[in-house]
Symmetry: C2
Subunit: 138 residues, 2 copies
């Protein structure tokens, strides 16, 4: 987790990933929407691309223009993005309409849930046992 955060935990990195999730794939559009310094965003996009979370594809030669797409690894971060969005809506804006919700095919909202990989049942925060694999001290 520490090393995941070295990539994804830097300022603006997850906001850039969110934009790609929402379909905003271009540099200037991201700058406009999230308000990051262009410099910083450029460096984040490089890091995310290098880590295999985004993929940079050229969509125009002369002048060279690029778009960013999610890889499978990037798509696996979906629960992070969604949880952070909903957490803010719930606890930082209570009562207000959320500025953006993700809507399922059936018309209802999405939610990230912790479930058991095998039996598929939801697991509450207290019910899991941590199992250390190397030099636990525990």
């Amino acid at each position: 987790m520490a090393r995941t955060l070295e990539i994804v935990g830097e300022k603006w990195a997850l906001l850039a990933v969110r934009e790609v999730f929402l379909g905003n794939r271009r540099f200037d559009e991201m700058v406009r929407r999230i308000g990051a310094p262009r410099d910083t965003l450029a460096s984040r996009l490089r890091a995310l691309t290098g880590a295999g979370i985004l993929e940079r594809r050229q969509y125009s030669e002369h002048p060279k223009r690029f778009e960013y797409f999610l890889t499978d690894a990037g798509r696996d971060l979906y629960p992070v993005i969604l949880t952070l969005m909903r957490w803010g809506d719930t606890y930082l804006n209570p009562g207000d309409q959320p500025p953006l919700v993700l809507v399922h095919e059936c018309g209802e909202h999405l939610l990230a849930q912790v479930v058991c990989e095998a039996c598929g049942k939801p697991a509450a925060a207290g019910t899991a046992r941590p199992l250390y694999r190397e030099s636990p001290g525990n």
Copy 2:
């Protein structure tokens, strides 16, 4: 989401929350385990407490000693923690044994999944439609 990240996206913040999830509630133990500068950790714990993610409880008077517990708001960040852990195990350490897994009552591993709040069905990353509520430009 931007405002959520202002709290939770600072360096060491999520690692501190993870420690509390794992049951390591005390300052020095967190310092030992995550290796954060004591200074920084102290300030993160203040911020997380102020944001209502952690709760600081005194467990000894003379000398005053404190433990940190998760609030309901903190527990709602479970999918974030779990996803970041598993993402690192999958993509940064492929093949290796993960250093720590969370085990369900039934003995299997946990996983964060995006599901529809109403119908409960899992939703893949592409299947959701973003719905903007204020001045979308879209």
